[in-house]
Amino acid sequence: MQIQKEYGVRRVYQTTPGENGAKALRLSDQIVELGSREFDLYSQVAAWLPTQEPEEVFCQRVGVPPTRLGAVVDKLAEGGLLYRRSEIPDTITGPELHKHFQKILPSWLAEAFSHPFWERMTEGRGSKRLFTGWLIELYHYTKNANRHMPLSCAHTRDKPLKLLRAKHYAEEWNHYHYFTKALKALGYADDGVATSVPLPMSLALSNFMRQAAREDILAYSICSAVLEGTTTDRQTYNPYYEKCAEHYGLPREAIRPIYAHLDLDVQYQHSDLFQEILEKVGTISATRAGRILEYGHQLAEHIWLWTDDIEKYYSNELNPVPRRPFDPQLD
């Protein structure tokens, strides 16, 4: 039981098969290559660590002599795949947390956008309907900023932080108009879009942000930073829109407002806001820091599942676009 209490498992963001059963495991800061037998042993140890199974039962089950288990685990920790809980610092400063976040963010974003939907769309296996559906949900998500951004101000006691959050809200609250314009160019009237019903996962995104806003301003701010992290570089989003325009015959008027919105986000430098906030924060306990990071990672997971929900709903030709509110007479 001691080993199980002493060690934790590091997150593996991607596992790539190599020759003869070898695997390359991508962590946020390195790639660890394991042979077939090493990988099997690592998988067994990683699955066992958070369980109730006693050490001796585990050793017998996987065929590792009990005297060697400590060495195996040490080796995996040296390789970066496990970590010692004793190495977790008691506290961390705001700027240190931001540095840590910056190192992890690319891995989180890669995970968030690893859904097959994106390749499907850019390779021409999607449809105008799917693009439109995605845009409608993006409209809801952007409009729903009004459900969570002001809430983050309301639940903050710290003046400098609530000032920054309020400023951010003032700059963003009406950005859904860009999507109204884009959707209009695709033939969807303002009223039909405004009265439409978001998909459960679109609503879930804003509900999750509301949850964060009530719990901890830094948890909220990391979620906001993950979202802003998706719009920092034109090179990351232009190809998607350009390819979609080409494959699905989208008018330029449907794309132009989206570029204008993204450019505005870059101009406001909203991706730097989290750093600005954390520079105003002193010491944070390890438990709180873990919880903040949890929110950031879960937001990335929300994006993945949001994409899944969009693809499922709008792929079905029988589903109405946009989604209409329930009407006891009409439905």
Partner: protein
């Protein structure tokens, strides 16, 4: 039945086959043949909810009585609706209860037909999906601390006793599932484990509804209640078959299943089966807006429940790490 301005329900679909008109709506199907089919075929393009039956009869050069008879039959089958100019009409709680029950039956279909059930029963689900199912059930039931508490704290005066009782009777049901999970994982791991985004979505939707509209929240919650095993013959047998399949293919889940069964028994003892019906019988008539809101929340609840199932199926397939241990400053 008051027949104002008829219209085909937009959730109905019409198919033409060998001279027949087949109309599907929710879980029912109506087939018309011969003259009736021909008449409806002519009528369909004119059913806009703005034209009275008399005007429709004139437009089609048809006898009004014949048209009224057909409209009445289709109205009774639920295929046609009749708009009225009076928007102030109200629905009694008892009428709402019947409407709600009928819609729930339809909206729950995608949940009962979800592929995850078959995958588990046939042993095709992965270890992560099976344990994930138990964990997500735990997180969802543990969510009572959030949504039931918010519901009670924000209850309208007439709903307060129901929502207070509901919270007090159910807040500790998560512990029943926790006990099952303890057969596999240490308690501190279970308590700090993180739910899937889809489970969070369900709990958060319940919480948001609970804070906004007591009756709509309870109407949505009733849909979830309908999925619980009431112990009657049909549902009891299918649930037992599910547990048998799970035990057969995943023998290490026995104590998890025991916790599921213990929770079912705890729910059955509470006798919550007819609470919603009693509640509907005791409330003043509902405005059209109140009906719309409560049914919108119920429909959305069904969609969130489908999402809950999807999450377990697709997320644990793509990201099989289980349990979803809490992040630390070294784990990422």
């Amino acid at each position: 039945m008051e027949m104002g301005f008829p219209l085909l329900r937009r959730t109905a679909s019409v198919q033409r086959k060998d001279g027949q008109l087949i109309i599907e709506h929710l879980s029912s199907e109506v087939t018309l043949e011969g003259n009736a089919a021909a008449l409806l075929d002519r009528l369909l393009p004119l059913l806009d909810g703005k034209t009275s039956l008399g005007t429709l009869a004139e437009k089609l050069d048809e006898r009004p009585e014949r048209l009224a008879q057909l409209a009445k039959q289709l109205g009774a089958a639920g295929v046609l609706a009749f708009r009225t100019e009076d928007d102030g009409s109200r629905m009694t709680g008892a009428q709402f209860y019947e409407l709600h029950k009928e819609r729930c039956r339809h909206w729950l279909r995608p949940i009962y037909d979800h592929p995850l059930w078959t995958k588990i029963v046939e042993g095709k689900a992965s270890r992560a999906q099976v344990i994930g199912f138990a964990f997500e059930k735990y997180h969802y039931i543990e969510g009572a601390y959030e949504h039931m508490a918010i519901g009670a704290a924000n209850a309208s005066p007439e709903m307060m006793p129901h929502l207070a009782r509901h919270f007090i009777e159910e807040y500790n049901h998560g512990d029943i599932y926790r006990k099952g999970l303890q057969s596999l994982f240490p308690d501190e791991i279970i308590l700090s484990a993180q739910p899937l985004p889809s489970t969070r979505a369900l709990v958060n939707f319940l919480s948001e509804s609970a804070g906004r509209n007591s009756f709509a929240y309870y109407a949505g919650n009733e849909l979830l209640q309908l999925t619980e095993n009431t112990g009657d013959d049909d549902s009891g047998q299918s649930v037992n078959a599910f547990y048998d399949g799970m035990k057969k293919h995943y023998p290490w889940t026995e104590r998890l299943i025991n916790s599921f069964i213990a929770h079912t028994h705890a729910d059955q003892k509470l006798g919550h089966d007819d609470v919603f019906q009693q509640m509907c019988a005791s409330i003043p008539p509902l405005t059209r807006q109140e009906v719309r809101d409560a049914l919108e929340v119920t429909r959305s609840m069904a969609e969130h429940l489908r999402l809950f199932m999807d999450g377990i199926e697709v997320f644990y397939e793509r990201f099989p790490g289980i349990p979803r241990t809490a992040i630390t400053l070294r784990s990422e």
